[in-house]
Symmetry: C2
Subunit: 238 residues, 2 copies
DNA sequence: TATTTTTACTTGTAAATACAAGTTATTTTA
DNA sequence: TAAAATAACTTGTATTTACAAGTAAAAATA
C-alpha cells in the first residue's frame, strides 16, 4: 500500500486553505491573510507560503492581485470533476443522488476502446460500472466508467451509492486525479441513453469522453458521460 | 497605450520554451534540457528557471518527473482557445478558414446578456462580431463575440480574416487571456445556426457560452459559440 | 554473466534575503 | 476642503544556499 510519508509543508498549507475555502470559513470575495501573516501563522517562509497560494490560484480557488492580496474565488460545487450550473438558479449539493445501474465488474477491455490503451492496462482487465446521477430526481448524467485493474483490491465490492468514485479512490487507495483530457460533442439521444435520461429519441445530449491522469502514472480513469443539458449546463473554468 | 516595460526573466524563458515546443524544435516525448542546463544556457538561477517550467507544466506543455526531467507534452493545434480533435484522424491547422459574417461594430449591450456585466462595461458599449470558422470548407464553428469597448482604438477597422481574435488583441493591444469560465450544453440547431452550420433543423449542436479574463482586470471577452460536432469533437485538457 | 551496489544526475522542498512594483490609507500641502 | 505627496502595506521577481528524493547508468560484486 501507499505509505503516508512526510507531506511537504506547502501542500499542508494548501490543503488547510482549500478546506477553509470549501467549508466557507473564507467566503467568495474575502481577502486571505497576507503572505507574511500566513508565514507567521503557520511558521513557514514566504517562498513556501507562495507555493501554496500559487497552487490554490492554479486550481481556481483564489485570484492574486499585486499590491492587494489573494481574493477567494470559490468554485461551484462539483460532481466529481464536472460541475453543473443551473440555467435559472444556483444548484446546491443537497439533491444530488447516484443510482448504480451496473455494479463494478471486472471484464476484458473492448477492442475498439475510445482511448488507446497500454499493454499493462489491457492485461489488467477493466473494472466497468454504469451510474446514473440525478439532480432533484431528474437524471442528468449517465456515466460509464472504465478503470484498469491495477492495485485496486476489493474495489468491485465497495459501496458506490451516493459516494463519488473519486472519493473512494482517494480515501481507499490514495489515488488522486492530477489532470486529464476530454472530447466533447453533441449527439442525438438513442436507445439506452434516451431512456435513462428520460429524453425523446433524437433530442440533443452532451457526450464527454474523458481520460483522467492520476498520481499513479500507469493508472488512468476513463469515462463516457452522457448529459441531459436541457435544464442545466456543464460549467467549467480554465 | 500599454508600455512594454521590462518583461520578467521567467516569463521570457517561458515564451522561448513555449515557442520551441509549438514550433517543433522540441517534439512530443522529448526531454527538455535539465533545470541546471537551462540556468547556464540563459543565465538564470534555478528558482527562476523552475518558475518558467512550472508555468509550462500548468499550461500543459510539459510534464515534470522527479529524477527524470521535463517531458514535452504538446497540445493539439488550437483554434483560439478551443481545440478540435478529429474523430478519425488528426487535424492539421492548414485547412482552417475564418469567414466574417458580421464585421466588428459598436453596439449597445443587450439587456439580457448571458453573463452579468459591470457598469463600466455597459457604459463602454459592445464590440460585436460574428464569424464562421471552417475546417476543410466545412463550417464547424459559428462564433458570436462580444467585447467591452475599453481601450481598443480602431478595432472595428482591423482585418479579422484568417486571423485569430486573440492574436490581434495580443499583438495590437497587449491583451492576453488569463483564464475564464464557460457553460456547455447540447441544443437542437435552429434557424440561423442550422443554416450557417449546414445542418438540418433539430440536429444536435454544441453550444458554449464563455467569459474570458484578460490581463486587463476590467476587460473580459465574451463569446457564444455553436459547434457542429458531427465530424469533429471539441478537445480539452485540464 | 547476472545481480547488486554505487554514483551521478535529475527534480522537489525549504530557508534567508533583497529589492521592485502595485494598492491603499494616511498625512501633508495648496 | 480638495488635491498631492508620502508612508505603509500588499504581491512580484530574483539570488543564494542546502539538502531530500527519485531515476538511470556505471561500477563493483557474486
Amino acid at each position: 500500500m501507499v505509505s503516508p510519508k512526510s507531506i511537504p509543508q506547502h501542500k499542508k498549507l494548501y490543503e488547510i486553505l482549500r478546506r477553509h475555502i470549501t467549508e466557507g470559513i473564507y467566503k467568495e470575495g474575502d481577502l486571505l491573510p497576507s503572505e507574511n501573516e500566513l508565514c507567521q501563522l503557520y511558521g513557514m517562509t514566504r517562498p513556501t507560503v507562495r507555493q501554496s497560494l500559487s497552487t490554490l490560484a492554479n486550481d481556481g480557488y483564489i485570484r492574486k492581485h499585486q499590491g492587494k492580496g489573494s481574493i477567494v474565488h470559490s468554485l461551484p460545487k462539483d460532481i466529481g470533476i464536472l460541475s453543473v450550473a443551473g440555467t435559472t438558479s444556483a444548484v446546491g449539493n443537497r439533491n444530488l443522488k447516484t443510482r448504480i445501474i451496473v455494479r463494478p465488474v471486472l471484464i476484458p477491455w473492448q477492442e475498439d476502446f475510445m482511448f488507446p490503451l497500454t499493454d499493462i492496462e489491457r492485461e489488467s482487465g477493466c473494472i466497468y460500472m454504469e451510474r446514473l446521477r440525478l439532480l432533484d430526481d431528474v437524471p442528468i448524467f449517465y456515466d460509464i466508467s472504465y478503470i484498469a485493474n491495477i492495485n485496486l483490491p476489493r474495489i468491485t465490492s465497495r459501496q458506490f451509492e451516493n459516494r463519488s468514485l473519486f472519493q473512494i479512490l482517494r480515501a481507499s487507495y490514495h489515488i488522486e486525479v492530477m489532470g486529464g483530457e476530454q472530447r466533447i460533442k453533441a449527439i442525438p439521444a438513442t436507445g439506452k441513453i434516451s431512456s435513462y435520461l428520460k429524453l425523446n429519441e433524437g433530442q440533443p445530449v452532451l457526450h464527454l469522453e474523458r481520460k483522467l491522469e492520476t498520481n499513479n502514472p500507469a493508472l488512468f480513469l476513463y469515462s463516457s458521460i452522457f448529459c441531459n443539458t436541457a435544464k442545466y449546463s456543464i460549467f467549467g473554468r480554465f
